[in-house]
Chain length 403, copies 2
């Protein structure tokens, strides 16, 4: 087995954690030879040997000694360019970049075929939880019916502060930012885009179909108010930001990201703080639940390390389910039962409700509980992004034994 010489692109929290883990491990048989950073001057908490850092990614891509590139930068497009170049230069790649992967999955499959190189990215979905690898290898048959989970640690931390610790939403967000769970611009996390990127990746490995992020209805927790919190609490439920892909028989499936009312007793009810939890449901095994740290430098580094070790044993994703027949078709004419709270945007008349179960109005706000198609939510997504609106899903698929 060839020794692994790593070129690391990105030296933030995750990159530095990986550097420490590899240097402290006795059985990894890998070495980080070069690290590409944006600035050599930036102060860093760990010391590195002289000459390790560079600002020129060519020093990694063009170095024939480097046989593996690990990419952990923030920018999706820059990352895609580096990853493509590295594979075309004959290197295997490990990436934790969910935005890049979700956006470019189809091209990344092609580049893997074209170059014969492997790209592994288990760290991109749910940090330390081995979701992708298990979907690809262990749930590699057509028994799988549903994958549903809390895929974003930052938004879950905020919701957990609100529902488990009684904090205000604003205080919880501020605390999350202070602890480094949420970015100073936390749009990706709290608007659901980060969960969506992970869901797109998971869906390809779960049922073999790629759906572009732009084609999926996504709704976040940024407009959650005290009224919504009170509504959930009065019903003994928490609100969680949930991503899900659900198969209906062999023919169709749907997927979306939305806040959801979660009752006690369901697996994801107890996924608190910055943790992630994923429920995999299938025909024979019923339900599997995987739970672990979804974010943070060291949990993500441990996942990158697993992928690095797997490449040492020539592991690659086979994308077996993309060859399955029939592959189900993505549909959105599926009715959800939702709670829609508003004040000035009149959701009652704006949305083409299939049916309405409840209506409420007070001096401060109104809400409707009723059935609506996912496709209609998607069409109305601009109006639904208004500041005075909040939507939350009542889970109903497989509700008879919902966990």
């Amino acid at each position: 087995m060839e020794k692994i010489n790593i070129g690391l692109v990105g030296f933030g929290t995750v990159g530095q954690a990986l550097y420490q883990v590899i240097n402290n491990s006795r059985n990894v048989h890998a070495e980080i030879k070069k690290v590409c950073v944006r600035s050599l001057e930036k102060p860093r908490s760990i010391e590195v040997p002289q000459g390790l850092l560079t600002t020129n990614v060519d020093e990694i891509v063009d170095d024939a000694d480097i046989n593996l590139v690990v990419e952990v930068i923030d920018q999706a497009d820059a990352a895609f360019e580096i990853v493509s170049r590295a594979m075309r230069a004959g290197k295997n790649v490990v990436s934790g970049n969910k935005a890049m992967i979700a956006k470019h999955l189809t091209e990344l499959l092609d580049i893997q075929k074209e170059t014969g190189r492997a790209l592994l990215y288990d760290a991109s979905s749910c940090g330390s939880i081995p979701v992708i690898r298990n979907l690809e290898e262990y749930y590699d048959n057509d028994l799988l019916l549903e994958v549903k989970g809390i895929l974003n640690g930052s938004s879950n931390y905020i919701l957990s502060r609100v529902f488990d610790h009684g904090e205000d939403y604003a205080d919880a967000l501020a605390r999350a930012q202070k602890l480094g769970f949420a970015e100073s611009n936390p749009t990706q996390d709290i608007c659901g885009f980060d969960s969506l990127n992970k869901l797109v990746i998971i869906t390809l490995h779960a049922i073999g179909v790629y759906v572009a992020p732009a084609d999926v209805f996504v709704y976040g927790i940024e407009h959650l108010t005290a009224a919504d919190i009170q509504y959930a609490r009065e019903k003994g439920m928490k609100i969680k930001l949930v991503a899900q892909v659900v198969k209906f028989g062999e023919e169709t499936f749907t997927m979306f990201v939305m806040p959801e009312f979660v009752a006690p007793g369901r697996y994801i009810y107890s996924v608190d703080d910055e943790y992630n939890g994923v429920v995999i449901r299938g025909e024979c095994y019923d339900r599997q639940f995987m739970f672990g740290k979804g974010a943070g430098g060291f949990p993500t580094a441990s996942s990158l390390l697993s992928d690095i070790m797997a490449l040492r044993h020539d592991y690659r994703y086979e994308y077996k389910k993309t060859a399955f027949s029939p592959r189900p078709e993505y549909v959105t004419d599926i009715a959800l039962k939702i709670y829609a709270r508003y004040s000035t945007t009149d959701l009652h008349t704006l949305l083409p409700w299939q049916s309405i179960d409840e209506e409420y109005r007070s001096a401060s706000h109104r809400y409707v509980v009723g059935e609506i198609l996912i496709s209609d939510l998607y069409k109305a997504r601009t109006a639904l992004a208004a500041d005075d609106v909040f939507l939350c899903n009542f889970p109903r698929f497989f509700a008879e034994r919902d966990n």
Copy 2:
């Protein structure tokens, strides 16, 4: 890729479930060509084509068309003979037989090396939960510190009836037997031997060391009484049958199976009924929790199917950690804090306690809470098997943030 022709040995609950799953799947590309049973006359709930069943295992082992043997019988020694013969005849093997594998692991490694054939057995540990595969592939580095879990569905079902549903122990056992969770002779399950077999297999894949089942202290729940249940309840805890392997630094590890007091908030507290749950703890990822059905025909069949599909892609266990350096040494001079209840067997004087925290006596029973070495428990195991004795462990490793 070669088509998989399966010879199935054993046609009980699991074998029949596997037969149905493979026949109903469109993407498995495998066929069960022959099934070896003990009796052709035994009534079965599913219909099979004429000529499928045989009582002569040679018809499988000697059939050159059959390239994969799936072994799901009860007997450890007969299974070992069949599995060895099949591998020597050039066939890959999938087995769910934990007793056989735990007992013969070393020989099975040698036969795999000698024949170049692969033996997969994820179904042997925790039914549908992919524990072995994840330990082997994903946690394939030296970050792993501890694996701890509820590995036996039948005993957990009984304890769950007692602690979650307020039933008597005797009623709970009878109900488990009626539902088919516990055998008519449930010794393997409730005395902890089944958990122990799984722990032995898990330990090899977790830290690369094989310890024979006979060298491990195992204590079951067969002598649990109302007094013990009351003791746990008064402290707000449940009793669970827990198997664990724990590393102490790089040099040593210990392992044992024992009832344990489990406080609310710990992951395994909510593993109820026939479910299994495994906590994997490591240096970077902290804790991962996997939860799913640990027993039953279809959950186990789904696991067998994953292994069958993996063989189609030439997957094999590499037993990577057996090559790690240093491999930790198995030690038992480790102090546990335990509750020891007795009436006529005087455990207070019988056992060489390191220290005693509590003593209690009443007309019906006595108990001691104190520290004792695992090695001393092992030495006293015959006396501790007396009808009037029950032991339960207070978890203490990593207790500061114990989950």
